[in-house]
Symmetry: D2
Subunit: 275 residues, 4 copies
């Protein structure tokens, strides 16, 4: 049911996080430890900010572990902010337009989780998407519709509020259809400057989501670890599953919470869907 | 802008029509003569009736000319009724769920043409699809929505009337949006027993569509041609472009007409979109 | 490291064995129990004998569990003899020409296992392939080279002897290069009439391989099981892993043994590589 | 039969040359004007020098015109030296390992053309490849073997001489097999600093190959053209076909010639296969 990771900080060659760590995301595509499914082989995607206009998106239906092009890109693209996602479909087609991240303008969006009862809810949810955005929906996933709801509800103005309204709307619609506990979501979102990581589920039992601890304490804790010594204060990693078992490196993002990674101090806030 | 062909008659190994003729459909994928585009390399599909329940559908995003699996299937599947389609996208994604034929229950559907202004019309057209069918729309093409409109308007009961209503509805919606000459269509449709071939466009300048002539006259005309001598009275081929230049084999289906290929005498009727 | 299955017997719609059983091959592609790797997601292939000339082969680089076309084919192709294979690469590229079964004339060939040290041995092994067959090697796997060695060593005349010579030659070559225990192999082979299943490894610790028990005893053992009651005396299934946990249905093919499934009594023989 | 282009000069966002020009390489993939085949839809590849170690290679079996990921990469990767290639197969499989550029260490290599009679010559040519390089041959094309012959014949020490020996060896081998006029080649080669463009065919009728004219004269000739005014003295483009019809911009590389694009003055030399 998908795994993702996001980096914000000093520019990195992407493979350093995607392939190099013992339990990096590509390894998780083959054997995830904390996911509902152990295999995330139904495509993947990588979005990054760097050269050229707006974010780049590379998406493929091949499993991440076997995609030569992903290996090439990761080894030759450097970026200060990127999001990667490996997919395990919950029923919708395996096709590029169903792979994350989804993009709109400067926005990138990934989702691990599911909207329960999506086949019944799909029509009502799509109707609530701003008509000017309707034709931009290219695939058939719940995640892409959720993203377009957030765009419709003001993502550009107030991202957290927009996501709260989008998820609130999904819950409201589900209730009307008699679908219980409709939302299961860890979400990653970025505009190229900030990075939002949401952890929420209607029933309060969300998928795991972790962020890397404060860089200074990580360096202090592991003085012998060369890689960790290179961490700078503004560096932050968000992951569905820890990339390594080293102690003191990861902290769990609490239930119903959004973490905002941004220049200066990051911020953590309660997340409350609104109707 | 796509090419298609359909066979109804004695069971044939599919390659006899798909690969063997000098200008068969796979050849047309690489260099069509009569199409708006000469290259139809944005995927293809093959639907057939035979063993197992309901029609089978094989669709791929590879160009038909280079797909090894299509060559294998065509050489090893025998069927009395099949439809094949090569695609040239008019803008929507190259993905399996956008490849024809589309299927619903026993129905197969292919479309060569376009709904002009589809990005603007898409939302209104999808809203008119029966809510119980909404979630079955897997791709993002105009063609798949048109098919689901026809299903919503009674394809099971009266196929011609349902298509007339579907196209009428598209024209009406387009008018409301100020889109002129919205429908350009040659359509193939089958339920496994009958085969319908529609030729229609709002402006009265439809894509080409041909059917093979009466088998008896073809045999008489070409007594030396072994392959044509094997034609039986119930055999009928419908094609976007003639597969060969032999005279007396093809007749053009007129503008605004539907041909019904069926056991016993086939039938040709005017096609009039209804509102 | 791959899983495979083969059927010889009454004509079956392929999905009955590929998808329907609780632990069918497609399920094994996602979570194998007895394989070295639990995931076999690096492509798959299906070869069958039926309509048209010679065997058909459908191969794809997509994981078997997510391939819509495999599902379609399996549901609509009927065959009395077919072989299916799911792949976990041991290092060579994920591409159709590396997917099993390999075909030559009427022959189909699948391999679960590995030739240790193949990169060093590859040149010497390919040199031993009959020059007239050299250009037919399309991919880069050890398995395809092994198949072409067997073809070079007289597969058409004496299949078992040819495979014994091919594997003997690999072992001899490996010895020269200082590679120990070079062959790990469960092999499936068919000419459309007979089916050979080989289990052999240089170190005597071969991958698992099972065949279905005598149809009469299976029917007697499970009188309540409708599906098993349909088994006929000539039906035989060979599998890397049992498709179900029912007792008395599977027997392990012993080490260094070849099973010949054929019209009339099947035969089991010791397998001894020859030099 | 393939088209390619190479850039050496100031760092460019790749799409400026791949997609932006009226007759850029991606356009040529759909309708080449000067190629033997008008459609080059059997895969493509892009190799570039930039961030990370050694050159990056992105290759795909999709037609270049429809590949979303190529569009993304081209729009977001900047490089001072890159080579792109669109493929029309002359018979070998459509698979990533058959797509150009081929890479070895710092080397990138592309080929437009063919080795006539390759199926007969393949074994002898592969035998001449240095055994230590044999296992590095991943695909089944004549081009990849030619590249490995050049590597075996000293590409690292003297690139032009190595290619002269490689092609001389192919001609010699072909002669032994009674194959006439075996080599048809326009070749692109780079080590990240220099770029070599070879034009040669055994019969003296080579595929077209052009280089951009001296930047200063181009700027003088087209003072009104903003894009051309940005050309710097070290900028050089090599193309199978001109990207635009503007006069005074392209010069044909003569038959049996190699152009060396390098820091300082470029160089043009006769090319003579040696035996």
């Amino acid at each position: 049911m998908c795994r993702w990771m996001a980096w914000s900080g000093q520019p990195l060659i992407i493979e350093e996080l995607l392939f190099a760590p013992p339990h990096g995301l590509v390894d998780q595509s083959l054997h995830s430890r904390m996911g509902v499914e152990t295999t995330n082989g139904d495509g993947f995607g990588l979005g990054w900010y760097g050269a050229g206009d707006g974010p780049a998106v590379y998406r493929s239906v091949a499993p991440a572990w076997g995609d030569e092009n992903l290996r090439e890109l990761a080894a030759h693209v450097e970026s200060p902010l990127f999001i990667a996602h490996v997919r395990a479909t919950t029923g919708t087609a395996i096709q590029q337009t169903n792979c994350h991240p989804f993009r709109h303008g400067r926005w990138l969006f990934v989702h691990n989780g599911v909207i329960a009862g999506f086949p019944e809810l799909r029509r009502d949810l799509m109707l609530a998407v701003d008509p000017s955005l309707f034709a931009a929906i290219q695939g058939s996933t719940d995640s892409e519709v959720l993203f377009h709801l957030a765009l419709s509800f003001g993502l550009d103005e107030d991202p957290i509020r927009a996501v709260e309204r989008a998820i609130g709307f999904v819950e409201e619609t589900a209730e009307r259809h008699g679908v219980e506990a409709p939302v299961q979501a860890s979400l990653g979102l970025s505009d190229g400057t900030r990075l939002w990581a949401f952890r929420y589920s209607s029933e309060g039992k969300s998928r795991t989501l972790f962020s890397s601890c404060d860089a200074a304490s990580v360096r202090r804790l592991h003085p012998e670890n060369e890689r960790l010594q290179r961490l700078r204060d503004e560096d932050r990693l968000v992951v569905s599953e820890p990339l390594s078992d080293l102690p003191g490196i990861w902290e769990s993002i609490p239930e119903a919470t959004v973490l905002v990674v941004q220049p200066g101090d990051d911020e953590q806030r309660p997340f409350r869907p609104s109707r």
